[in-house]
Symmetry: C2
Subunit: 291 residues, 2 copies
């Protein structure tokens, strides 16, 4: 098993909050370039209500497009053979987002997850608002661990804890993931942080130290959750990859294609996006003396 | 001894790269408001060549102003009773910055430091470019540790490692500070990170874990070193304090006065500054439900 698995969620979690609906051909162009980087998984979209998230209306079309394209199977493992399903750990967030209580939402998700797995897919189940909620504030750790335990009881062991609104801090990340791994040391842990308050990278670092394998991030730091009161961008993929590179990790994945997509996206949306590296470039190995 | 000591360097390292020279009365207003937050130390300026850094030309005047003002003694411990002196760990950076080799610069700094201490002041000595250099790229850890050893041999045990150009990564921060503390467990370690590539907060977190006590940062994330090829802002004071607050640390220090100064500075310079929290505000404890 790899120490770090890179899961690019920009085309889903990055775009779903944008008002301007990105056309399918632009998404396809970005997806192709992202796949060239060698990231392990790319989320193409989400099968949600078209009226609630019009940005995701073309998800079927996108999948159709790429299923007929050779050479992209690897980048497209996610969503075709790998499903991501989740519920919120906040009762208010759950009801606003899905109209269901946490317990109802989890029953449903677990059934869907087991059906997907029976059909041969890998399934990741997530706990959203695992580190706090805009409506409820603190979300008790026990509440998150209860949800995780029910996933584990159902045999679902690929588990993502998502910091939907950016409230996580590294000490809490360490503690919560350690407690998940105490429940079952075989859990494959994923993390999904938002950089609302500038803590995205520090939380990823704490997660790595706690034994997390899967890191979800979005090119250019795009995104946020449209159903919460405070929104903020995802951890920026190229900034995170740049950190891993500087630590000698995942140097097999290229920064350039991701930086290209982020520059393209900044031009497309005509605004500066949160990511740093697409603006600064990576740390140069050595610069010539100026004087 | 406190676990975390907050050292505000914005009026020095934050302003020295700015082209527009900030008038003394504006600096004084910012210094007063920063002191109200309860940060432990505030750098008012730097005694450098006026032609090289015109921003620091009024340092004497500023000190004069505050020495006559009651109630600010605590905030002004730094620079009056506490001197910060440093050299670079990069031969090229040292020669460009001071015209001296590392060895020559250190001889001089050590003499000055011992004289200041003999006069009753506390003295912090630093190693700049301790984690990399724009001219030389990687700076060998042994080179940094040699400089630290010479400080320790001279009896100077308040030691700051500065990441002048933002090349540090958390793994390296942990390793280098651990090695410093292996040289002498009694060293009072300070860290000074720049956020050029978005790694400022993650490096502070790693430093805390490694046993570092003093954290140098600048309001609004202002600043950078004018004598290096790549420049970037300091770690942002209010973003760092916000992280500590969320971890239950240094809740005795107020965020609001620092945020005020950062907003004032952004208006003064008529541009968006790097800090996040002065724009987003801190994480609210609980938000009322919207629906």
């Amino acid at each position: 098993m790899r120490e770090i698995v890179l899961h690019e969620v920009g085309l889903r979690d990055g775009l779903q909050i944008e008002r301007a609906v990105v056309p399918t051909d632009v998404k396809a162009r970005w997806a192709r370039r992202l796949a060239e980087s060698g990231v392990d998984m790319i989320q193409l979209g989400s099968f949600v209500h078209q009226e609630k998230v019009p940005q995701m209306a073309d998800t079927d079309e996108l999948f159709g497009l790429f299923l007929n394209e050779k050479g992209l199977e690897r980048g497209l493992a996610c969503g075709v053979r790998y499903f991501c399903l989740g519920i919120s750990a906040s009762e208010t967030h759950s009801r606003k987002n899905t109209g269901m209580s946490i317990a109802e939402a989890q029953d449903r998700i677990v059934k869907t997850a087991l059906a997907a797995r029976a059909a041969g897919a890998a399934v990741q189940v997530s706990v959203q608002s695992a580190f706090g909620c805009s409506y409820e504030g603190e979300v008790p750790e026990e509440q998150v661990l209860d949800i995780v335990s029910r996933y584990l009881d159902a045999g679902l062991t690929m588990i993502s804890l998502a910091d939907t609104v950016g409230h996580a801090t590294p000490d809490r990340v360490t503690r919560l993931f350690s407690r998940v791994l105490q429940l079952d040391a075989q859990v494959e842990c994923a993390c999904h942080f938002h950089d609302t308050y500038g803590l995205g990278l520090v939380n990823c670092y704490a997660a790595l130290e706690a034994g997390v394998t899967y890191f979800e991030s979005a090119f250019a730091g795009l995104g946020g959750c449209p159903f919460t009161a405070v929104t903020g961008g995802n951890v920026c993929t190229e900034d995170l990859l740049h950190l891993w590179h500087r630590m000698g990790k995942r140097t097999d994945v290229s920064l350039d294609p991701i930086v290209d997509v982020s520059r393209d996206a900044a031009a497309y949306f005509s605004r500066e996006l949160p990511g740093k590296i697409y603006k600064t470039g990576p740390i140069p190995p050595v610069r010539p003396a100026l004087g």
